[in-house]
């Protein structure tokens, strides 16, 4: 599997994503500068976490119209798997590849901690490595992860099976206490209609190595590798 990590000015989880991609696929990903216009040969694109353009204006807003994003949008429409993690999720919503918006956390403070997530569907290529309703533990680290969409959009997401991950208790219950940022319906990650674009606030690349205290994030990359493997 050939992978590509997009690097924007201010990306800071680009290396973290690359480490996991190389560990899982056995090939170092291509690190592609935002100013490029051609994605080249790749089986998956990752928009990493960070603070591209310092979150100035709105998180992801200035990165969304950058040259490489035209190519990412075009290829995503053709079905190329695209994963946006944290700031990458914010870029995907600003680029309208995913609906809704990420607002400031309800607490108004930045929050970095492990959270539990319930896997809501497993048909999308990124989620093949999990069981439906499986509870996984990976960290969040963001100031603007409060997912918002209007009622109509939210209903469409729910009805269309586009909600990928929800914040939950350790046992899987979806409760207000388990919601770290005020996201509507405890949403932590969503898919586009076709299921090939996933945006998520939590960081699967941060707990994909037992030495770091957990490996639940690794299955996301492994599941994708399986999904893309030639039958």
């Amino acid at each position: 599997m050939r992978s590509t990590v997009i690097v924007f000015p201010g990306s800071n989880c680009d290396r973290d994503a690359a480490v996991v991609l190389e560990a899982v696929t056995g090939r170092a990903p291509t690190m592609l500068w935002h100013g490029e216009t051609d994605l080249g040969d790749t089986d998956v694109v990752v928009l990493p976490g960070g603070f591209c353009y310092g979150d100035y204006l709105r998180p992801g807003a200035i990165a969304a119209p950058s040259p490489i994003m035209s190519a990412v949008s075009a290829r995503a429409r053709d079905g190329l798997p695209v994963l946006g993690i944290c700031n990458g999720f914010q870029v995907l919503t600003e680029a309208r590849l995913l609906p809704g918006a990420l607002m400031r956390n309800a607490s108004l403070t930045y929050v970095c901690r492990d959270v539990h997530l319930r896997v809501e569907q497993t048909t999308a290529p990124f989620l093949r490595g999990y069981e439906k309703d499986q509870v996984i533990r990976i960290p969040i680290a963001h100031h603007d992860g409060n997912y918002f969409a209007d009622d109509a959009t939210l209903n469409a997401l729910e009805d269309g099976g586009q909600v990928a991950l929800r914040y939950c208790e350790e046992g899987g219950a979806i409760t207000p206490d388990a919601n770290p940022n005020g996201s509507r319906n405890n949403i932590a990650g969503i898919l586009n209609k076709e299921g090939n674009v996933l945006g998520m606030m939590p960081h699967p690349e941060r707990l994909a190595d037992a030495a770091l205290g957990g490996t639940d994030g690794r299955a996301l990359f492994e599941g994708l590798l399986d999904a893309l493997a030639p039958a």
Binding site: G49, F51, G54, D55, Y56, Y110, V111, C112, A141, L212
Partner: protein, 749 residues
């Protein structure tokens, strides 16, 4: 980039700017004494220009010149087998083996953080990271040591929330994990908080960059953010005490831009890899003045600057303003000849300004031109070396008597007291703070905040680096010498407790006005204690910072020599943390023989409402023997669960281990010769609690005894409560709730 076209008319100006007619008011505004101004006149052989006066003002400020502290700092041990670079550069450098080096330093941003907490703290983090990457290191860990006023002081909440948000806002954006630190609340800091930020970077030993601009006719290049009018005279402000009008100094606080810092790190590291740099220095305190003067002085050359070429954010800036601006995220680089285009390509890619603003010369003079006028013409060596040096009078802090445990009222219930103390300002969880810091970015954090030391893997190797910040100000206030020994040994112990070999420290000396002999006596005592501890533990000082004049209307802070320690784990898989891991494990107390010392303890403060007597004594030889044994036990695999005993004593250490591992304890009653409350709450130094396989207990106790150390069995890991005969069980859930509630409740979260 302005390629310096020859002839450059602006660079050839010969007419001198007007000389000042110095009034006492003008001299005082520049933070100089009458004697110091006379010294300026002697050096110059004439009156200075206004810009020259500004240059002397910042170069001779306490902040830049260390004029009150230098004679004492020189007494500290600064060398050792691991030391590659001691104090005097942007940061210290120690060898981690295999060609890896740790570059680190701690620096204060106290005065600005009190006036404008978010920006003051943010730019403190930015400044210390620049000190580290300037030397060729990629920052891999940040820490901070914070001291706030009393929890109920009207400004405390505002300051805590601003400082924590500022530290997070900067470090999170740049993408460097904040892996540790400490926070105290004490009325002594009501009007002068302390914000000490530490950064550790990783470099290759053969790729360290220094600030000496050796060579003549080399291009002097300015990179990074544009220069504005912010922070003018920041160094002078940081060298004066506060009064009621200090809030009016807000315009002297700089504004940070972490996004630019992130770009600057990447661009500078790329430039360093291109092998075109002779010397590099960040523009920190005293901005362009200090960086250009220091680079020229260390290189033994002169320097000509033409300020017309400096990238400027505002119109109509004078030479005086540009030389004294403390605008952030700027660096000065002396390049190898002919490499300007290479540098320009890199900085343009990262969207940063770059301009050739001068050249090194053989004149030995710092000459600054602006708009066709010579604004500064000062001999470099004289400017750098001639700063006043004061041997200020001092009065050593009188020794306090030993407090006998019997004089301190015993508690009605050990566990009720434990719960109350762990739910109070001094021992409650700091989670509300460190969850606002990204402590996992870079994907190598294996020891998260909340333990004895933060631990990050050295990327791509099997090694790891441990770091900690420590100081117990109440001990230092009672006995500066012993209290500073304690700060050094606690840092050493915290590194040891995770399995690291302690390598070196950075010190951040926060004191009140050195012009008061009592304060100077605290400083002298602290230096003596630091020297003794560093020598005994082979734990030298490789960098540091002095922050004086932390006082308001004549009331000073408690003396606070914060110690930042760094250690290395040769094998990251052989380490320990504080969390209990297995039911049935044996709990051992190991280390210096117990004395039940309650003077200056948190228990004394809790039970008696006051802090009195001598702080706990430090036995440096026993401390070293205990630490070396614990480290061996971790590395041979005998234990993976260790916690040093510090604030609050033994029972608190045990409770912290239980909470971290979410496992209960069956403790055995104390049957020794000490009063029971002194055994459980005494703050004796040099001790660790270990959890290990019961089958190994006897052997470990025997090994401790052979070294002349104490060791005894405390109990077993079991259940979900703390249990001790004679006490009602204390459920972990109850204790956790008390421990976690205090700080969020204070902050209204």
């Amino acid at each position: 980039m302005t390629a310096s076209p020859a002839p450059d008319a602006a660079a050839d100006a010969r007419e001198r700017a007007p000389l000042v007619e110095a009034t006492p008011a003008l001299i005082a505004e520049h933070g100089l004494t009458g004697d110091e101004y006379e010294r300026v006149l002697t050096i110059m052989g004439r009156a200075p220009t206004l810009c020259e006066l500004g240059v002397f003002s910042v170069m001779w400020s306490e902040h830049c010149s260390y004029k009150s502290s230098r004679v004492w700092l020189k007494t500290l041990p600064t060398s050792g087998p691991h030391v590659i670079q001691g104090p005097g550069e942007n940061a210290g450098v120690v060898d981690l083996g295999d060609g890896d080096a740790a570059v680190f330093k701690m620096e204060s941003h106290n005065h600005p953080s009190y006036i404008e907490p978010y920006q003051g703290a943010a730019t403190g983090v930015g400044g210390i990271m620049r000190d580290v990457f300037t030397m060729g290191a990629r920052p891999i860990a940040n820490l901070n040591a914070l001291r706030f006023g009393a929890p109920d002081h009207p400004k405390t909440r505002h300051l805590v929330s601003g400082v924590v948000a500022g530290i997070g806002g900067y470090g999170n954006c740049v993408g460097v994990p904040t892996i540790g630190g400490e926070t105290n609340f004490d009325a002594g800091y009501n009007n002068n908080i302390l914000v000490n930020a530490m950064c550790v970077g990783l470099a290759r030993t053969d790729r360290i960059f220094y600030s000496a601009a050796k060579g003549v006719d080399l291009p002097v290049v300015y990179v990074g953010s544009k220069t504005g009018r912010d922070g003018i005279h920041g160094a002078t402000m940081a060298s004066a005490e506060f009064d009621d009008a200090s809030d009016e100094k807000r315009p002297t606080v700089q504004v940070g831009d972490p996004f630019t810092e992130k770009l600057l790190i990447e661009a500078c590291l790329e430039l360093m890899a291109a092998d075109v740099i002779i010397a590099i220095q960040d523009m920190g305190a005293a901005g362009l003045t200090s960086s250009s003067c220091e680079m020229a002085d260390k290189g033994g050359v002169g320097i000509d600057l033409t300020l017309d070429h400096v990238p400027q954010r505002e119109r109509g800036m004078s030479a005086y303003e540009m030389m004294l601006s403390e605008s952030q995220e700027r660096m000065l680089v002396v390049l190898k000849p002919g490499s300007e285009e290479t540098a320009r390509a890199i900085f343009t890619k990262w969207g940063l300004d770059i301009a050739v603003i001068g050249r090194t010369t053989d004149t030995g003079r710092m000459v600054v031109r602006h708009r066709g006028v010579v604004e500064v013409d000062i001999p470099v060596a004289t400017l750098a070396d001639s700063a006043p040096l004061y041997e200020r009078p001092y009065e050593l802090t009188p020794a306090k008597g030993l407090i006998l445990a019997e004089w301190v009222t015993p508690p009605a219930s050990l566990f009720d007291t434990l719960e109350a103390m762990m739910g109070g300002p001094h021992l409650s969880a700091r989670r509300w703070i460190w969850e606002q810091y990204d402590h996992m970015v870079m994907g190598d954090t294996i020891g998260r905040p909340g333990g004895d030391a933060g631990v990050v893997r050295i990327h791509g190797t099997t090694k790891a680096l441990a770091a900690t910040c420590d100081c117990t100000p109440r001990y230092v206030a009672a006995d500066p010498d012993m209290g500073t020994r304690q700060a050094v040994v606690e840092a050493w112990r915290n590194l040891t407790a995770v399995g690291a070999t302690p390598l070196a420290i950075t010190d951040n000396m926060n004191f009140a006005s050195p012009e008061r002999p009592v304060v100077m006596g605290q400083f002298v005592g602290a230096c003596a204690g630091m020297r003794a501890a560093c020598e005994a533990l082979a734990f030298p000082v490789v960098s540091g910072n002095v922050s004086l004049y932390n006082e308001t209307n004549g009331v000073g802070i408690p003396p606070t020599p914060a110690i930042g320690g760094v250690g290395v784990l040769p094998d990251a898989s052989k380490r320990a943390d504080v969390a209990l891991k297995r039911d049935g494990d044996l709990l051992l107390l190991l280390g210096v023989h117990e004395q039940g010392h309650l003077g200056q303890s948190l228990y004394q403060q809790h039970a008696m409402g006051t802090l009195e007597g001598a702080p706990p004594p430090v036995d440096l030889d026993a401390e070293r023997a205990a630490g070396d044994l614990v480290r061996t036990l971790i590395r041979e695999g005998t234990t993976d669960t260790v916690h040093d005993v510090s604030d609050g004593g033994l029972l608190v250490a045990l409770a912290e281990m239980a909470l971290a591992g979410d496992r209960g304890l069956q403790l055995y009653p104390y049957e020794g010769r000490l009063p029971t409350h002194a055994a459980w709450f005494g703050e004796d130094q040099g001790r660790y609690v270990l959890a290990l396989d019961p089958a190994r207990g006897e052997d470990v106790i025997e090994r401790a005894r052979l070294l002349g150390l104490g060791a005894r069995v405390l109990g077993r890991v079991t259940g979900d409560a703390l249990m001790l005969p004679g006490e009602a069980p204390l459920a972990l859930a109850t204790l956790r709730s008390a421990h976690e509630r205090w700080l969020p409740a204070l902050m209204g979260a």
